[in-house]
Each structure stands twice: as structure tokens, then as C-alpha cells.
Symmetry: D2
Subunit: 346 residues, 4 copies
């Protein structure tokens, strides 16, 4: 296939979404990795920090200023919240297309964003332009986007799980419940006490029940599809595994529906969403390292409550994999280019 | 303290509830362990199978027939379902009091039991007499009971979590949701593939969404308190830890209630139920090895959905610890005798 | 690339080496998977047992007799010990090349094999012909082999670690020590109590100190290279992780050597052996899911004891990956064909 | 028992040895906990940081200056290295006995200490007086000590394992090898990246092969017993569990010895050292939460290499438990007072 190779850069590559982007892009057939920046680690070979990349990625972390990011076709921001909004404008002006894996461009209402992320937004005009890029919802907009807001991990698992119900208008939209469980890598590669192995292993807890930043993101996405506001209770939990999100979703049916058929039809043709056979229980390990979301839908005891089980790898479909999927769409590559890895089981 | 020492026996001590009973009874001030039976392992010192007991428990597993269980004051059944119902009658006739840690006497409607446990009940008359012994609900009946149905692990965590709401009559009883997560020891010490370390570690999944044996047990317990049937969706999950249950409970409020105060008042005076301060997120490790249930109650965004977080150690408050607590009540000991261990953290 | 696609079959695909072969062969550019047999599971889609393969492997487990294995170019035995020796002769006669991932053809001295594996060998004549296929030692013999004895997991990590020292003749060959630690998947996908999650998680123990089947295999391999018998103490340990072997090797230097240089030269040109910079400590996760062996060599305090650290993924370089590597060599493919996955970190 | 209750204080209680001391002292029959200091967390109830202590420890962290430590009978330092040496002199002058769980008083040669711990020693005169308190070696000196240097975790497991061999003078003392594996809590409750759950789980690695602070401590202890310097290679490893150390020790026999008998005799009468039957493999979980060291001794294939397996809980016998054991000895209590917990298994 005599296809172009585009030039890609990564800003902020020392976290888990950064190393995961490196893993995926290093195997991508149409993409050439040009630079990965880190002010703090400039000069260190990335394979020294992430030895799985030895022999496969020869780049060093570089100073952003010396990285010629404006010569790239696409730049990924694998940075903390609040960085991409500072740098996006200049890159977009230089013709670079942006994929932000953080939250800077996810919330359309800037005041809501500022309230949850506790900072002044530096670039509201790009928020208006940015595409919230869940390909299974708005693939067409992604194609031409200059700025991609890559969805969060919980929001990906929860929205893909609820989507068929909300689109069908068959559930009580004022009382959706998302009970979500995440592996510890979801908290990032940050030196914080509560995610130490000795704290988080062999332990289980909820957190953020009073409020979590992914709540407005999920609510916005579901409201967009519903065409009206939705009521959502979102309870995230920390579970002692490295990767994986399992969302258990509850909704009240307002009319009878063939749920299995509804889900299968909605996701027919979607490469990365796998509706499992009736009665299934998807496991997070079945998507470990892969870009898939696997979903099962149940109606326990034939009652009026739907239970949806939705699993993703938070670092792949919940972050770097979906970013590459969006890049593929933006540049007209096969949507699964570089994303054909099979999940590692066991 | 010139108190009596009662004689205790354990039937079927090779599983996790068995070794946990041994750990607790070996440290109990008023209890003398006389026999622990296992047909399969008769003759083996228990400390050979469970080396944590070396130097503390000198017993060998013995043949049931040779164990003089009828000379005991109390006999614990730490057996698979369907064993206690075969042997209880003779022991009760001999004046022995029975604590069954399995499910044989938990469901009052024998036909429901037979449907879920897929066998003919061998001793329905003792079902009628047996006390379903959640001390925080029916301590008085436990005192004089001859046959104790010790509650299941999920049912303990879920019922203690819902109880104040159901008693207060302030939630929609037709739509209770219990999203529960259990450590792998909850599946028992059985050689089964799906609970191998290489299958269950670094993985998360729901199971039994279409139906789980603890569903009728929980529903019966809540209905008993409510004075009417309840509607319950119960979704258990397997989480990669050894011990611990975390139940996340959802209910719709039907009238405004001061939830924190409701819970604190309900459990004031209960040694083993700890209502945590408002805004808390109890961790399973905070009860690892201890007989406590820790509970927090939330009302996210001030909406009409209550979220209750309830944690126990499935092998202690969810099994052996509660069995000892019940024994203490039956024999008039301090309710926390032998149960003062502090949870192991980290 | 207009290269041939060979036809491959797998005998016994329900274990971990089986699913790992499926993962690798499903992504192999020159290999077509024709059959995977399992008497017990015949008729079940493999993706039902291993949901990571959904959408990627459409085969069902089939009866061996109905699997036309004799039409394959290569057949992998991912079976328990003692199966391949029963079936290899017929396949070899039919012109099929065999890769046995079990131990049937590993030990050249049949009487030693029979003593350790406690059965009569059914096919001694193929033992004589079989090639013990550690490519880094005897790649040339692999090329033309009809029967491949694929090395064990511990033996791969230990031999690759000791090899440069033994070849150089610079250590006391009578007192080699291999302290090896394996993830639990090394014990296979067998329903056994001691490898349950609740037994093996958060626990560490040695096993088989008095004797382990991999001892004669390692000793044979090192003796072959040394040209004389070696003395080896081998202590395997079970460590609470899913995949990975870490071998810590100790040997007494008999003369001064530039160890770093010795190792780098020995493995220069080897795609799958990575000698890390001086002072390194390889991590098992740096090879999780990948076919690499990473090695570091130390001389603590400049004393006369060499310490070698050698890590592999027991299911890849220690089993299925090495089997594919051997297949690639046998059929003249690039040695890393289908083996370019980057390790999953974190 | 009309025994005195002594007054105890803890300096620096926010780490793992601190919370473990609290767990043990809260259950101690002869000890009253008076103060636990933390400059950073002064005012916070300890049970807020460590919820396992809710209902059992009512203390708040307090400012050291306001804690009346000089009114205590004993003060434990559960502080980073370098703190106890600043404060010990004043307390000792006030008649308080000191147990330092850090390393300030462990190394008798102050210049060696300063080299390994990279600071100037503030109190060399108390180093000279301090007792390195491994009770199984020098119980008598502990009785009258004013300053206790509580041994490190690795040094406890390794010394107890080697002791009988060294005392018997039956091994090559120039070539001892200690291959030790520790759970992650051994690194402390510090916000560091490499001990995050997502880094340390499902992973295994050696560290500090070129030099570890416990090397001089172990070498000093063994040399003391041997009456001559010893040669030791010490390789620590990080293993993905919370608690536990497994030391695998190798030594070359210089003469034939009945090893099992040697070990059993050496530790006869020791409450906290359990020599297991010949052929055993002790598991770390068999001492989880308990103050025991369990040891097995092997002579593989009847060769000249002894293999000793020694396990402890690094936070109990390797830290807080041994500190309490030393306190018991100092104050004439039963040596196991407050230390009768049975290990938590599973």
C-alpha cells in the first residue's frame, strides 16, 4: 500500500497515556513519530524510562521549544489538564491538527469546565471548534476536525454502554446510574500515596461519590444524544488491577424493547464495539491492551431495570487507542490501522 | 474472669470459613475447640494445611463419626450447602446448638430454597425453627436459638447497608439496586479454573446477573423488615483481591430524610457496625480480618438517589466472625469476645 | 510480499500456551491457522473460551481425528507432557513438522526423562532426532528439524542468562545457582487449589527445592555448551503475578572477565536477547507479551561472584513465542515474523 | 493480672511501621499509648488516616513539642533515618527508653553508617551504647538497654536464616548469598513512582544489586556471631505483594551436618522462630500480620550447598512486632504479650 506516512509529535510523554501512544504509534503503518517532549526529562531516551520500548523507539524526550512540533501533521497532548489549551492555538495556526487526550476541550460550556477543573480557560474559541470525538457517535465530524477532544476513560465506557438506550428513548433519562470500576493506571503515573501498591492492592473503594470531573462530560454526551438534559448518578471505584474499566449501568425501561437486538443493530459495523451474546459477562482482561469495548446487556428477572456491562482498557479505547483511532479517521487511514493488537489474556 | 469455657466443634474445616473459624476460636477466651472434621483429610494436622495455625492449633482433622460432636455445646457447619441439613437433627436432639455457615437454613420458603440450591431439603422442620441470625436485626431471637442460619456474605453487607432506609420507609422499595464486589475468597477454596490467580488477577467482571443464590436471601431479609415484598436488582462482581466485599447500594428517596443522622441513630450501640462521617468512602482493607461493617451514606448532588457504601470482610463479618458473634450472643458472652482483632492495614 | 502462507495446526488448545499460540499465529503474516484440537471442548468456538480472540479467530475446537492435522505444514503440541510422544510419529511420517511445547522430546537420556516424568516414553527414536531448540544456541539445527523440542520456561531464562559465562569458561561450573521466580500462569490453566487467586495472591513461596523437572533440562543444556557436566542448584519460586519469569543467577568467577562486554558480544545480532546497560535491573513487565529476554550482569562490590538477572514472559519467549520463532526459522521466514508486539507496560 | 501499664509514645506515626505499632500497642495488655507525633498531621485523628483503627485508637497526631514524650516509659521512633539520632539524647537523659525502628543506631562503625546513609551522625555516643536487638541473638542485653536499634526487615529474615550455620561454623563464610524478596510495603508509605500499584503490580525486579543499606547491617550481624568478617552477596527484589519477606539463602557446607537437627535445636524455645519440618516451603502469608519467622532448611540433591528459606512479615517481625517484642523484654513482660495474633490466611 503506497500510502503516505504522516509526521506525529507527542507533548508530554512521561505518563501512561504517553507510553501507550508510543507503543501504538511505533507499530503504526502510516505514522512516523518525530518528537516526544518533556521539559523535565529532556535528553533522556524514552526507552530508558519505558524499557518495553527498547529497540523499538529510539527517540529522546526533547524540550518542547526544540521539537519542531509545528512541522508535524498531528500533535497529541498527553499532558495534564490545562496544558493543551496553552499551546493549541499556535499549532493550529501552523496547520497542525491536535488531539488532546486531556480534558481541555471536552466540555462545551466553558464556565462548567472552569468550575470543575478550577482554572481559567486559556482558549475558549477552540473549545467551540473542537470535536468531542467518540467515533461511534460523530465519526463524520472527526474527519475534518482541527482540534480533537479525546474522550475520557470513564466517559467512553459509560457512553458506549448507554448510547443505544438513550438513542432509542426507551429509558427514564432522569435516573441513569453508572457504577464504574477502574484499574489504578486510570489515576495516572503520579507519585501519590493513595495509589501506592501497598495502599491500592487487595483493596476496593469508591471515591468521588460527591462529584467527579467525568460526571459533566458523560452528562453532556448523553444529553447531546438525547436532545435534552439527563439525570445521572456516577459512582467511580478504584479496583486493584492495572488496566481496565468495567462500567455497570442501570436504567429504568419506559417501554418493552428487544435489548439484545437493539445493541447488536446499533453497533453493527463498528470495528471496536463488540456486543456479546445474550447472557454474557465481559471481562476487562478480554480487552487488555486492545482498542475494543465489549458490551453485554441484561434484563434481570425480566423486570423493568436494564443492566449494561461495558468494558474497555482505560489506556487504549479509554485514551491512547481512541486517539489513534481518531487520527486514523482524520487522515483517511483504515480505522483500525495500528490498532489490530489482540488483548493479552491471561 | 471465672467464666465457663464451652466446647466447640467444626464440621468441614478445609475451606476458608473453616480456617477462619479456627483462627478466631483459637483466640477466643471462652471457647475450647474440641474437634474439626474432614472425611477427606482425616488424620492430617490442621496446621499442616493451614500453616498460619502452627503452634496455635494442635488438632488433627478427624472423621465425623469419631469426633464426639454430640458432646459439644456448639457445632459450626463450615460445609458446602446441603450437608448441615443432613446432620443437624441428630445434633439438636443431643442438645447441641448449631451454627450453619452454609445456606441450608437461610430461606424460610423451602420450595424457593430447593429451586435455587437444586436439591431436596432434608430437614424442613428445622428451617421453620432456625433463626436467620443477623444480630443487628434480631439479636433477641439469636439468644435462645438452637439452629442458627448464619447469613451469607453479600446478604450481610447489603442488608446492613439498606436496613435504615427500609426501616424508615423512605425509599422506593420496588427498585432497590445492589451493585456488589467481592474478593475471590468468596468463591471458596475450590479447585475451579475461573478463580485461578492467572484468571482472576488483574481482571474484573460481573457474574450471575441473571440470577444469584444470594438474591432471594437478601430479598427475604429486606421484605421481612419492610413488611412487604421488595424489588431488588443484585449484580455481583469478582474483584482481584483476596478478602472483602464492597456493596454500592442505590435507592430512590420518596421523602426528604437526614440520611447521616438516620444511619448514626440506627447503628448507635452496635459494636460491629461503624457509620462513617458524612462524605466518607470506606475501604475494604479497613475491615480486613476484622468483624466490622463500615458504612457511608451519600446523596449525590442533592438528588433523589441515595448511595450507600458498605464494606465487610467476607470471611469475618460475612461468615466466621458473624458466626462467632452469634455464638457469643447464644451463650451470653460479651458480643465481641474473641472478635477484638484490629484490621490489617496495609 | 508474495510469500507462501503455511498451514498450522495446534493440538490441545485450551491451556495458556494454546491461547498464546492463537494470539500470535492470528497475527502472523505467513501462517494460516487450520485447526485447534480439544477432545473435551470439541465444537466450542475458541473465542468463547478466550474472549480476547472474538472477531479474530473463528475456529472451533475440533476432535483430533477430524482435524486433518496431517495436511498441515506444522503442528504445535500445546498439550500436557506425554501426549506429543504418542502422536508425533504418524505426523512426521506424513511430512508434518512438529513443535512440541511440552517436555516429551527435551531430555536426550530417555531413562532420565522417564524418571522425572514418571511414565514410559512412547517414542524414543524421535527423542534422538529431535532438536532442543533454543535458537540462540543452535539455530542451524532448527532450520532442518522435523521435531522441535521447545525449551521450558525456566530453562530458557536460566540458560540464556548463564550461556556467555559457560561458553567463556570463566566460572566454577560445579556450583551454579539459579534462583528463579515465576508468575502463576507458569503452572498452567489447571484447576488446582494452590494456584487459586486467594492462595497465590499476596503470597510468595519457594517450591520444588528438593527437585524440579526443569533441573535436568537446564543441566543438560549447560553441560552441552560446557562440554562437561555442571553442578546446579535450582530453586523455583511462585510469585503473585500472572506472567513473567525473573531468574537471578549466581556463579563464582575463576578469572577476571569484562562481563558487560562478554554479554554484549555474545548476544550482538540476537533479535530477542537484549543485554541491558551496566547497572540495570530488568523488570518482568518490560517483556510482558513480548518475545524478548532482557539480561543484566552484575559483579557486586567487585567480588568474585557474578549475578545475572534474566527476564522473559514465560508464555512467550518461555513457550508460544519461542515456538513461533522456531517455526519462523524452520520455514525460512524472518525470525521475528509475527513477533513484533511491544510489551504491555504498565 | 495486676501488672503495671507502661506509658508509650510514638514519634512519626504516619508510615507503615507507625500504623503497625498502633495496631499492636492498641491490643497490648500492659501498655498505654500516650502520644503519637507528626508535625505535618498534628491535630488529625490517627483513625482518620488509618480507618482500621476507628473505635480502637482515639489519639490525634500531635506536635512533638506538645506531646510530653519525656513522661513516657518508652518511645518508639517510626521515623525516617536521621530523626531518632537528633532526639534520642534528650529523652534518654529524661529516663525514657528508646526503640528506634529506623537505622540510626544499627551500625556500630559510625563512618560506615555515614557512608551508606549519606549524613553526619548526630549522636555517635549513643551508637556505642545502643543494643542491636535481635532477641534471638542477644536477649540479655536487650533487658537493660536504654537505646534499642531495632533490626531492619531484610536483616531480620536473613540473619535468623543464616544464624545456625554461622554459629556452627559449618559453611564457607566468604561466600554467603542472600536472595531476598520483599513486598512493596517494605519501601514505606512514600509517594514515589516506582512503588505505585500500576508500576509494581504484576511485575518482578531486583534492585540495589550494586549496593543496599541492609548489606552492611547483615554483614555486621553475621560477623559478630562468626567472630570474623563474612563475605555476603545480597540481592533484594521487589515482589508484587503488600507484606512479607522471603529470603532464600545459599551457603557452601564445609563439613557434613544434620541440618534439620541443627536448626531445631538452635531455635528450640524461641517463641517467634518456627523451624518447619524437613522438606517444607514456608509461605509469606503464613506469617501475615504475625510476629513469626518460619524457616525451612534444604540440601538439594544431597550436594554441598545448603538452601535456607526464611519468611517474615516485614512490618511485624521485620519492624513493629519485633519492636514490641523488644519492649516486652525490656520491661519484663511475657515476650509474646500483645503479639499473639494469628496470621491472616488467606
Amino acid at each position: 500500500m503506497a500510502q503516505q506516512r504522516i509526521k506525529a509529535g507527542i507533548v508530554g510523554g512521561t505518563g501512561y497515556t504517553g507510553v501507550e501512544l508510543l507503543r501504538l504509534l511505533a507499530q503504526h503503518p502510516h505514522c512516523e513519530l518525530r518528537a516526544i517532549t518533556s521539559r523535565k526529562e529532556a535528553g533522556m531516551p524514552v526507552a530508558e524510562m519505558f524499557p518495553n520500548l527498547r529497540g523499538r523507539v529510539d527517540l529522546q524526550f526533547s524540550e518542547p521549544s526544540a521539537s519542531a512540533l509545528d512541522k508535524c501533521d498531528v500533535v497529541f497532548f498527553a499532558t495534564p489538564n490545562g496544558v493543551a489549551m496553552q499551546e493549541a492555538r499556535a499549532l493550529v495556526s501552523a496547520g497542525v491538527r491536535i488531539v488532546d487526550l486531556a480534558a481541555d476541550f471536552r466540555i462545551r460550556d466553558v464556565s462548567v469546565w472552569e468550575q470543575w477543573y478550577r482554572m481559567k480557560h486559556a482558549c475558549p474559541e477552540l473549545v467551540a471548534e473542537a470535536v468531542y470525538a467518540l467515533p461511534e457517535v460523530n465519526r463524520d465530524q472527526v474527519k475534518s476536525a482541527r482540534v480533537i477532544a479525546n474522550p475520557g476513560c470513564y466517559p467512553t465506557a459509560v457512553q458506549l454502554g448507554f448510547l443505544p438506550l438513550v438513542e432509542a428513548g426507551c429509558v427514564d433519562l432522569d435516573h441513569l446510574i453508572a457504577d464504574a470500576k477502574s484499574g489504578v493506571s486510570g489515576a495516572g503515573r503520579k507519585a501519590e500515596t493513595h495509589i501506592l501498591h501497598a495502599e491500592a492492592a487487595d483493596n476496593f473503594k469508591a471515591y468521588g461519590v460527591t462529584g467527579h470531573r467525568h460526571h459533566p462530560e458523560i452528562a453532556q454526551g448523553l444529553a447531546h444524544v438525547a436532545g435534552r438534559p439527563v439525570g445521572l448518578v456516577f459512582v467511580p471505584h478504584l479496583t486493584p488491577m492495572i488496566r481496565g474499566i468495567h462500567a455497570t449501568l442501570y436504567a429504568r425501561l419506559t417501554r418493552p424493547v428487544d435489548l439484545q437486538s437493539l445493541y447488536e443493530k446499533r453497533y453493527a459495523g463498528e470495528t471496536f464495539v463488540d456486543v456479546m451474546p445474550a447472557g454474557s459477562h465481559p471481562e476487562t482482561r478480554s480487552v487488555r491492551g486492545a482498542n475494543h469495548c465489549r458490551i453485554a446487556v441484561h434484563q434481570p428477572q425480566g423486570g423493568d431495570t436494564v443492566v449494561v456491562l461495558s468494558v474497555i482498557d482505560n489506556l487504549v479505547k479509554g485514551a491512547a487507542g481512541q486517539a489513534v483511532q481518531n487520527m486514523n479517521i482524520m487522515f483517511g487511514f483504515a480505522e483500525d490501522a495500528g490498532l489490530t493488537q489482540i488483548a493479552l489474556l491471561p
